[in-house]
């Protein structure tokens, strides 16, 4: 007898959670691995006393503003670099040097500049989102099929029309790939920045739980953070599917939905 694929997909996660719960209750796991049901209880606790909502709001505020600023700048400058050789020659060396450096290394500078509050997190998130988005946008414009451009020119398409009707649609898939990497970077930086020096936010909730040896609270923060990152990515991908209607067919993406 074959187990349906949909059920097979659930076997490993469910087995891990069940083993975690069972071993936890049998006292076989170290104390810092709170059982899943205890984590749920802690989640309920911080939700009902409003602590979670406050922390979530602070983190969400930082990550969304930082992401939007960094992505906006990355798309704008990246498209500029793709279209205008002068812009490209200015940014290429700087970006290729800075790209391989973990942006979090600049955190001390941003902390001194903007303090411990929202501004330092927002600016370092924007800073680190900029690079992958810039590279993807620049590359996307440059790799637009020349034949498409020639054809459009031949049919008399001018500047704005060429940009919105030919270049942008052709560049969009790669651009979204860069934005998705930027989003992932945003959450990594957010978490690290909140753990290293911060007031409020999910990172603080996690480190407070750790300091008080309330590991169920720590996990409640971790789970919330993970869900936040996951849901953001899903939303981005849903937007992408909507924008790229028809462009996804026939690519590897069909393999993995």
């Amino acid at each position: 007898m074959r187990i349906p694929v949909a059920i097979q997909h659930w076997i490993v996660p469910v087995a891990v959670l069940a083993a975690w719960e069972g071993l936890g209750h049998a006292g076989l796991l170290p104390r810092y691995l709170s059982a899943p049901t205890l984590i749920l209880a802690a989640l309920w606790e911080v939700t009902s006393d409003g602590e979670l909502v406050q922390a979530l709001a602070a983190s969400l505020y930082r990550v969304s503003i930082g992401f939007v600023l960094g992505t906006g700048a990355g798309v704008a400058v990246g498209l500029g670099a793709g279209l205008v050789p002068g812009v490209r020659h200015f940014f290429d060396p700087l970006v290729s040097f800075l790209y391989s450096i973990p942006k979090i290394a600049f955190l001390p500078v941003f902390l001194l500049l903007f303090g411990l509050g929202h501004a330092s997190k927002i600016s370092i998130i924007a800073f680190s989102c900029f690079f992958p988005v810039f590279i993807a946008s620049r590359h996307a414009v440059l790799s637009v099929d020349k034949v498409l451009i020639w054809a459009a020119q031949n049919m008399g398409a001018g500047g704005p029309r060429m940009f919105f009707r030919v270049i942008m649609p052709a560049a969009a898939p790669q651009l979204f790939a860069g934005v998705r990497i930027g989003l992932a970077h945003a959450f990594v930086i957010l978490f690290a920045a909140e753990l290293i020096g911060s007031q409020g936010g999910l990172g603080t909730l996690i480190s407070e739980g750790e300091d008080a040896a309330r590991f169920d609270l720590m996990f409640a923060g971790i789970v919330t953070f993970a869900v936040l990152g996951f849901v953001s990515d899903r939303i981005l991908m849903a937007i992408r599917r909507r924008v790229l209607r028809g462009q996804i067919i026939g690519t590897v993406e069909q393999l993995v939905r």
């Binding site: 097979q8 020659h89 391989s100 955190l107 001390p108 990594v188 753990l195 996690i206």
Partner: protein, 255 residues
């Protein structure tokens, strides 16, 4: 020769230009020199900590952690991806873990790693391995799965054994994809190690940056950033030349 030099200069002028602006901003007193130390002071800090052995030591710690985590992820990930591509059972069991788990910010789990593996090197190596595993497995898996069936059929038709097919057809065909995943994972390894060292450690470049920052010794922060940048660049080039050597039949799309 001369024209080449001018072209090169016209394409690389922005780095010297930005450095010049930096220096001008500091010497004119426009920017607080504590925040933006002059290039001379950054260079002096770099030379001093290089010769005292502090920077080489922390660099060695950071990059050996990154290398270990990365190598571990590659050694586990590529065979696992091959198994996922080959066996429907393995695929059905683990595909959701990798494709669903991909966008989950795994950094949130780092505090748990420090409890399980301790605060020093092991937690950083294990966590780096986890972070690198995702891009390596996902890209390698897609590479294995998109191999045209006719290649395998042709090999079978010519009497190749399953083992020969894996070694001579499947693996080489997937190599470009495998390298693409490794190239994504390499900077991730460096980022993750530096970041986790900044969160809590007493060794490594991340620690060096965090400590210099709290001491307001920003010339040291920039010196460390410079070291990371140069090492990261060298590693990426090394990866590319390795790829060129191994995937020698596929040229042109290396950049």
């Amino acid at each position: 020769m001369m024209a080449g030099a001018i072209r090169r200069l016209s394409q690389w002028y922005s780095i010297p230009l930005v450095l010049l602006l930096w220096q001008l901003a500091v010497t004119s007193g426009l920017v607080e020199s504590r925040l933006l130390p002059s290039l001379g002071r950054v260079w002096a800090a770099l030379v001093e900590d290089m010769s005292s052995g502090a920077l080489p030591y922390h660099t060695g710690v950071t990059f050996s952690r990154a290398a270990l985590g990365f190598t571990l992820a590659a050694a586990l990930g590529v065979p696992f991806a091959a198994a996922m591509a080959r066996s429907a059972t393995v695929r059905n069991l683990f595909e959701p873990i990798f494709f669903f788990g991909y966008p989950i910010p795994k950094i949130a789990l780092f505090p748990v790693f420090t409890y399980v593996f301790g605060i020093g090197s092991p937690s950083k190596i294990a966590f780096t391995c986890l972070e690198c595993l995702y891009p390596i497995v996902v890209t390698a898996y897609l590479a294995f799965r998109t191999i045209p069936n006719r290649m395998i059929w042709a090999a079978e038709n010519m009497g190749a054994s399953q083992q020969t097919i894996l070694r001579r057809v499947t693996f080489p065909a997937a190599l470009p994809g495998i390298f693409a995943g490794l190239r994504i994972a390499l900077p991730i390894a460096i980022i993750v190690v530096v970041l986790t060292e900044m969160i809590g450690d007493s060794r490594g470049l991340g620690y060096y940056i965090a400590v210099s920052g709290t001491r307001f010794a920003f010339q040291n922060v920039y010196a460390a950033i410079l070291v990371i940048g140069v090492c990261g660049f060298v590693l990426d080039r090394a990866m590319l030349s390795l790829r060129r050597k191994i995937v020698h039949w596929q040229r042109g799309e290396t950049a």
